[in-house]
Amino acid sequence: MTLNAGALFLLPAGNTHLMVLSPTDLIIIILYFVLVLGLGLYLRKFAGTSNDFFMAGRGMTAWIAGLAFISANLGALEMMGYAAATYQYGIIIAHAYWIAAIPAILFLSLVMLPFYHICRTHSVPGYLRLRYGEGARSVSAVSFAIMTVLMSGIDMYSMAIVLKVILGWNIHFSIWISSLTVGTYVMAGGLLSAIFNEVLQFVLIWVGCLVIPVAGLIETGGWNGLVHRINAAYPGQDFTHLWRGLGSATSNPMGVHWTGIVFGWGIAISFGYWTTDFLVVQRVLAAKDLRSAQLGTILGASFKMMVPLIVILPGLLALVVLPFKLFPETMAGIPGVHTYNEALPLMLARYCGPGLLGLGVTALIAGFMSGMAGNVSAFATVWTFDIYQPFIRKNASDQHYLTMGRWCSLLGVALSIGTAYLVMNFSSIIVYAQMLFGFFIVPMFGTVILGMLWKRTTPAAGLWGLIAGILTACGLWLWVKADPSALRYVAFSSHAKDMAENVYRSMWTLIVNLLVTVVVSLFTRPKPDSELKNLVYGLTSLPAGQAIPVLKRPVFWAGVVAAAFVLLNIVFW
């Protein structure tokens, strides 16, 4: 969920750059490229069937599936975007990692994964076909395929622009070297390659970025010292409380009321993204069994809770340790001015000498590349199983679909390069693409969850609910674009900033999606029970799990993570 990431693209393309790499830093970066290419070529021999290529053989353990699940979300774009947003809005941005993630991930693990896993679907659009038929599957598959290519191109372009700004590298060089690398290793190993690289990325991001909070907290005298210095530097502004300023839209810098955070961000966006975005769900569908998938997801949730340490804390530290102020993106390009989006790279440059700097930059590159790889592998799967197989060539051999998947990975990379260059010429497209992402993902949640939990939901309702949700999201966005004063209706406040508008728009989208799905269901004919076996609650034999010791039960660990989530919200209230 890169709600603020669109702003990243407004980074200046000037001649100056923030960092100078030493030979040690360059060796560290080159070694990373060598390893990921070598891994891709090595994994090729393990991707001999379509199941290996698209679902990693469904052989992942909980640890691997969980780390890949959370890494698919932990991109460099998101890290830099949220560190920037923290500099602007304060610790309130940690909601992105807590209320806007943890409840949804636990819900996915305990409630939705059993259905995805038991029906043995290859993808989320695949589940929609089983539950609702071809109509809903087609809408979701086509919109998802477009989104993945767009997002991959955006990752590619943003990496190129960030490397240009930070290191002064040529944009075309960055685009081509990253796309060739990603194309090679995804084409060779498919989802297996993508997952291996996501695990590698996860480790690199932590070891590369953890140095900032460690050094920063020592410099500021620990958490209490940091809070004291922020309060002294910004009197009258609350940068260090999660909920205290959310009683009114005018009392916090984001212009959002707590209802927007809870219902818009915490339910509509969060549940839409974490439970129905195939990019992340595909990782846990690759687990070797249901319990591994559930435990992996819960493991991912526990790591997600810790990410603020390397994203939010650097943003807060930047408020007091940087010797200059950061400015909005509108001031980008003015000599000597640094913008919000440079917060994380500036903090890296502040504490990291030769070697450590290379490690930090490698972490960011790994984040971007693994974002591209995740999108390309998801694109290949959805294209092959949800578009090519049903509409273009049914009943071909497994080898044919495997070959199609490999070439489709390459096609995905080629389309991403095209998107990257398109974006380069029309930079505002990126901001719209981020919103389009929300337009298509949020309505999916209502359609999928009603389909899973209410057997009365009909195929027509699934299709029309999905379309109504998409139209609502687009319509609200256009309304505010055409008449900015409409914000007071859409977001309940004319003070609402972009992020506040996004969360409320998502809330309305979900409400309309649910209402239309329910109403259409009541007036149309449902599928017979015999066709809903293993797809709907009440008609699916869920594993009992009584024989498993308590410490190995997903529900126990979900409880532990939920308790930690509540505790964090109380501590930083």
Partner: protein, 89 residues
């Protein structure tokens, strides 16, 4: 039967090499080449970080060395990707 080398072995190797490189850069900085623009230089972060990465990398490299995995466990193709099993979650 194809046996897959666990990802943690590659992670261990990479961290070990990175640890050595960062440690060497830290030692070079102590002997006079440090960048004056770096904050908290007195902490000698490169030494600590390089040492920690090297230690962690070696632990993972040895723990997931391919021959050890082959000898200790009989896995099916595809399952051998993995590594710490569920019981450790």
């Amino acid at each position: 039967m194809k046996r897959m080398i666990p990802i943690w072995f590659f992670v261990g190797c990479l961290l070990s090499v990175y640890g050595v490189l960062i440690l060497a850069a830290g030692i070079r900085d102590i002997s006079g080449g440090a960048d004056a623009g770096i904050a908290m230089r007195g902490l000698h972060l490169q030494l600590w970080w390089g040492g920690a990465l090297l230690t962690l990398g070696l632990i993972y490299t040895v723990r997931f060395w391919p021959r050890r995995i082959d000898n200790n466990q009989s896995r099916q193709p595809g399952e051998s990707v993995a590594v710490p099993n569920d019981s450790k979650v």
